[in-house]
Symmetry: D3
Amino acid sequence: MSDPFFQPVSGFDLPRFAGVPSFMRLPHVPRDHPRIGEVEIGLIGVPWDAGTTNRPGPRHGPRQLRDFSTMIRAINPATGIAPFEQANCADLGDVPPNPADLQDSLRRISEFYSDVTARGITPLTAGGDHLCSLPVLRGIARPDAPLGMIHFDAHTDLFESYFGGFQYTHGTPFRRAIEEGLLDPKRVVQIGIRGTMYDGEDIEWGEAQGVRIIRIEEFFDRGISDVMAEARRIVGDQPTYCSFDIDFVDPAYAPGTGTPEIGGPTSFQAQQVIRELSGVNLVGADLVEVSPPFDQSGGTAWLGVSLMFELLCILAEARNRRN
Amino acid sequence: MSDPFFQPVSGFDLPRFAGVPSFMRLPHVPRDHPRIGEVEIGLIGVPWDAGTTNRPGPRHGPRQLRDFSTMIRAINPATGIAPFEQANCADLGDVPPNPADLQDSLRRISEFYSDVTARGITPLTAGGDHLCSLPVLRGIARPDAPLGMIHFDAHTDLFESYFGGFQYTHGTPFRRAIEEGLLDPKRVVQIGIRGTMYDGEDIEWGEAQGVRIIRIEEFFDRGISDVMAEARRIVGDQPTYCSFDIDFVDPAYAPGTGTPEIGGPTSFQAQQVIRELSGVNLVGADLVEVSPPFDQSGGTAWLGVSLMFELLCILAEARNRRN
Amino acid sequence: MSDPFFQPVSGFDLPRFAGVPSFMRLPHVPRDHPRIGEVEIGLIGVPWDAGTTNRPGPRHGPRQLRDFSTMIRAINPATGIAPFEQANCADLGDVPPNPADLQDSLRRISEFYSDVTARGITPLTAGGDHLCSLPVLRGIARPDAPLGMIHFDAHTDLFESYFGGFQYTHGTPFRRAIEEGLLDPKRVVQIGIRGTMYDGEDIEWGEAQGVRIIRIEEFFDRGISDVMAEARRIVGDQPTYCSFDIDFVDPAYAPGTGTPEIGGPTSFQAQQVIRELSGVNLVGADLVEVSPPFDQSGGTAWLGVSLMFELLCILAEARNRRN
Amino acid sequence: MSDPFFQPVSGFDLPRFAGVPSFMRLPHVPRDHPRIGEVEIGLIGVPWDAGTTNRPGPRHGPRQLRDFSTMIRAINPATGIAPFEQANCADLGDVPPNPADLQDSLRRISEFYSDVTARGITPLTAGGDHLCSLPVLRGIARPDAPLGMIHFDAHTDLFESYFGGFQYTHGTPFRRAIEEGLLDPKRVVQIGIRGTMYDGEDIEWGEAQGVRIIRIEEFFDRGISDVMAEARRIVGDQPTYCSFDIDFVDPAYAPGTGTPEIGGPTSFQAQQVIRELSGVNLVGADLVEVSPPFDQSGGTAWLGVSLMFELLCILAEARNRRN
Amino acid sequence: MSDPFFQPVSGFDLPRFAGVPSFMRLPHVPRDHPRIGEVEIGLIGVPWDAGTTNRPGPRHGPRQLRDFSTMIRAINPATGIAPFEQANCADLGDVPPNPADLQDSLRRISEFYSDVTARGITPLTAGGDHLCSLPVLRGIARPDAPLGMIHFDAHTDLFESYFGGFQYTHGTPFRRAIEEGLLDPKRVVQIGIRGTMYDGEDIEWGEAQGVRIIRIEEFFDRGISDVMAEARRIVGDQPTYCSFDIDFVDPAYAPGTGTPEIGGPTSFQAQQVIRELSGVNLVGADLVEVSPPFDQSGGTAWLGVSLMFELLCILAEARNRRN
Amino acid sequence: MSDPFFQPVSGFDLPRFAGVPSFMRLPHVPRDHPRIGEVEIGLIGVPWDAGTTNRPGPRHGPRQLRDFSTMIRAINPATGIAPFEQANCADLGDVPPNPADLQDSLRRISEFYSDVTARGITPLTAGGDHLCSLPVLRGIARPDAPLGMIHFDAHTDLFESYFGGFQYTHGTPFRRAIEEGLLDPKRVVQIGIRGTMYDGEDIEWGEAQGVRIIRIEEFFDRGISDVMAEARRIVGDQPTYCSFDIDFVDPAYAPGTGTPEIGGPTSFQAQQVIRELSGVNLVGADLVEVSPPFDQSGGTAWLGVSLMFELLCILAEARNRRN
């Protein structure tokens, strides 16, 4: 049973529009807080989008995700998991990026996650653009044990470089992560890939490394159960990361993102694929690419935090299984 | 055959953007109008949202629903029903609420519906938030004969109270209606329930009373035909009410509402479930929780009036069957 | 292999937000350009909506479609088609309409398309409202050989007239086109028809001519493969046009249009139906009724250009097969 | 004292968001209503924008102006005028335009206004684009007595023609009205003219006829009192019309219009210039060019109806002075 | 010199979009925080709008004001005041309202402010609608010493009642406050009053009590210096409250509010009137009626917090003068 | 007299919503175009915002400015200047930035402007954020002759660094430009400065170098004529640059920008200050910080291009005077 300090404020007691908004109305426990040592799962914002090659905005993601997260309640209606009962959850605040220096920001983020990992805290990240996943992985992957990854996205993010050789963008994080030994490509599966293609080099490279790429047509043809069973087989029992780009979901559901691609899954299918992660040895997860300036109704942020809650349920379950 | 007076203005004659907007371009027949006695089905606005616990706005629903309703034509393309031919339909105007006094408003609304019921008019209501359904039911349920109800919603609205014991909110109407004997809980079915849960007490209480609660996972698993066949069995031949909360539909289709929950049905599925009400002894219906301030494109209002038209077709058919 | 001049600018070289926006970042080759003679497929804007009976705006469609089209890349991920490799594609600019004189505009548009056709260019049109399709057909149909047509839409656009006998609106183009012998009604199939009906006269007339009308319920019941196989049989091997009204797609995906109808297909289904045109002898296509003033997020324009890319792939393939 | 039937509904009794919206919550008295004979001032919508050369939308003006007009109360705070006490005011509904036939629409509108004038009703019009003023003037100007006009606008609307000779657009109404003898150019004053110019031919023609054109620089330099005193001198005691294009006001105040021009007056200055019409023999007025699709917040509609109330006060006063 | 703990986070160190948003990036010090005893000026949210008679939304004000307040820096550019140097400022969080029970909410708010006052903290409130000012005044006014008030608003908020006798709305707080002896009407001045009037009873009653009401015409005629000098004379040296309704400012600057009235001051004039409070013995202030659902761009919230900063400067100066 | 090739397309001939949008409908003459040698004034987009420290978006500025610029006509109504008659004007397209590498982008931009300057073309730039001005100045300032500058802005942009020493942001360009000898600080005047301040170091440094900083209070107190006369004296007859940050204007007029500050000038005042540049030896100008993601109505872009037209008139006049 979780400590009362770590229980979110209930909407029965304080209206959801009231109060300083922390993630899911959890206590705000920055790293210098006296109770940081008791935190088991940390919700962390990474307000940074310097890797964005077209429409910017995910730097504003954590704040809007926090705002909408005040509508989250306590129990998962489909699985019955009550994550705040299962683990001490807290909002660790935002990593302070340097919006003007990409390399400095990469360093700041990976140091934050190294520290969090050293404290034994399982991180659930709210991006930021997808380049954020690279320094997060640098912070949490043990050098001798590359992680597996289940990656939901419309894009592979396995490109070599942009704009004449520039290697750090939101289209390249997982190529870097594989090159750096943070991910074991044979335990990486990418699901939902679609959208017009440049030249296919990203897919060729990924498949050559052993990455399993499941395009949207295969996803719809085979169905969620079958695809996700394969995904679970690929990552196996070893520590695994989950990266969820909101553009996995169709833009009708998630307009507030920089690189939408039509022809994607519904919000229900997005919930289903995460629920199918049950049993995976998940050691961290992120939800990235929510871009408030392109999300006029806030619906993308609401979808994003709803999916963060689903990820949180899986993380809590996995952590308890490991303990 | 309906009286020409009760025919809506055609878009072939007057462009849809022209004219003072009444529901579906029907004649505006307030209760002091000389022809009120001939009305068979009354479309009524209840512009009131004092039960809203988070994001307000449904008070503006009737006006925006009227505005978009001018795009409705005469015949249901799937069922062939022409409701304006089957019954004298009219816009009865809005119930005047008291935005500053909840109990006074409850009283005003129930009196309006008692009067309408006494005139033999079948009401089709445009909310307002879901608390509106309580005084509507008070106005139309005969004391000795509680109604059945088919209820489409993401939420049960069966909560006991909020904010330290307050019993009248848009999360409590059907608990009150069952307690007051307005609804027969054994003839109540709720469809589409989802979203993170507080503690599940609402569901426990409802099921203990005999309410049949069909969560979204069961809904998608079994399919519409099977679920709706069960719903029809539950309510049987006796008088039945239909309450349709627009948040039943996924927020991609219905962003303009106060408590959206991801993972819901499509607009086509929303049409299908209403069409499956064919044969039910429907004596009234409502469409609630359209919140224009959160509906920037007006798409939620358009969805709402399109579903009101589907409900109208069922009401017209049921009324003629009773006659 | 296509000429380098006709290759679009890559997002790897120039960021997608930069540059004067032409369709899909292709060269802008107006009809007085020295290289017009080499163009094989011409992307053409028709910024005109004088046929609109309710909510105006498609006159602004071509510009917003161009803007969003800068996010299109080179290869179709599902079919592998690389249209810019298969044919010399170019942006021919916009037909100059006369917003104040409907008949003059009809004349200007048909002359433009006659000229384009005379040059041997296959046109892919960005509307404009659906009345645009009439003068396009006047420009490309050979008098002795009426075209077949596969028409995706929520509406038949087969009405006789509006507002007391007015014959040229966006609800009448295909009645006129059949009357004028531009289309062979027995080789016309309409898919996705739905929405409340006036009196059904449009459908009766169409079916009497031999038009095959597939309503949305049949579409969903039979599935895309079956329906599209029938569509291909209907149009056969002879020259065929494809007209795609964005309101074919559900308004959750395409809110930015004048006459949305709920209960429509998803964006993925929209892609699928076009991909099923593979093998059809397509000689032209249009994408109409994108209305920027009602498309606040731009999502409808993005859907529109994504579908234009799908149409372009089919056109390129068909053209090469004919050569 | 005005008849109680003609009093608007008070916001103290019925909340402003409730009820079928008529102009200023006045009774809806179409021309076939039994009490039409008692109406002294008629508020009339002309939902028509076929003269628009760029961004469309004013066809939706009357509906949104009605909606926001429910926030108008009874008394002018600056002048003390209570127009609903001074004259029987009513909402006469909308003139039915033909959106597909410009000349037919011109005819319909002028006939409506001829009839209203014949009944002795003073018209206050909500447009519609500025071409609407031409048929209104055709309906109300007596052939032997051209009217004077005080015209607030960023543009002269005195152009000869567009698009190769087309004479009826929202840029030409007053050239036509002067040519047709509906206006006496020597009693016409235009105030607020600004914006980049084509070639100045409109201004040259107007000044050659005797029209007094006061550009915005002169307006700001001399001040409102001085300019409006001159305007009153120009129109004198004879019957005068007032045409108010919402683009007179700066786009920060009135973004929802088709042809905004920066550098305009404030909303307070707009109120002041109308209040300075006190004493003018005003026989009709219009407020045009409010375009809801470009007015996301509704602020332009609210400005528009607030100015319509100011015009109404002047019309009521002038009518009583004539009686 | 203020304690470093009470210094806001600088935008030079942490980007303004990062971090859990508290008012002006000050420390969040709820009443059970160990350092509450050191707070001198408390910024408090009152997320409550149950008094709203038309368009709701100010309940969401505090959250959006906090969000935009992260763009506030340290020093007033016009006066040189550095409020965070002059006093220990902190964000005390939000008063928990009961959205479903108006009287309970009034009680909760007044208790909160009584407690804050007892601790010697000067409150700066972010509303909420204008009814919030009543319980705030109940909490801070000493029974034997009614406060003076400088009130900026388009409306007097001195009405007797609405909807058949209901006495607690956002149109009545100051009538109640005067009746309850919380305000000394002879030391109350209202500035900016405008907008169409019901019957003028509010103004008659207020003036009969001795309230000085300065309408917008007088405000513009006399100029800010002269009007504010009179305002300072009226309130004198005794403790005075300042209530600032954002609808004082013209809706072009502040569209996000429920009851906008055209013809108001600019944002610069709004700054000027607050700066002219220098020397007034201000013991508390509020900024109310910012309504995020009607503030799509966020500009009204930004204006609101910018004016809160101006009020904070005056409060800090006045507090130091009292010490 | 300008060459017909360089005349913009007239709205009398082609509706303003039609055609591929270039700046002011001028010919698109990239640097490899055969007629580049005849261009006298080049309109150039710099779609780059890597210097933005808070809300991003100006990278999208050039495209939206081009779109709205199609509403610009030929003649300045206040000054009579017809810039397209006075000089060969053309749209040179956009400088291709590298969104992922700030230093590389600085280099690309300065090289573009060096080349343009070498061709004798006077540049008028559409940003982009304010950091763009630095590489533009690097491209156009002759090493031995630092430029004067008239700078309209709410901020000095004279900061030393951000985020722990980072020297290249949109808050630092003119400190760098002065340090690099591109600007002569004694011939630099900044007008409109306002907004809460960090610590005033920027102002101290600037004034120590000799920069004349005119804050908004002084601007309003003295009036435009007096302030601009001083500005003209400061820059004298030598070559001078004009940099116009759209946030100079009040956010009611220019909401679409990243760092709005309330209390600014109107759009008319913005026009006036540019018109007062008549006679200044202007050799280049920019309009920066228009941020389309925060400019929902497009009004900021429209204001921006309207002011670019005013700048163009001054540039054309100055160029002709130099010739």
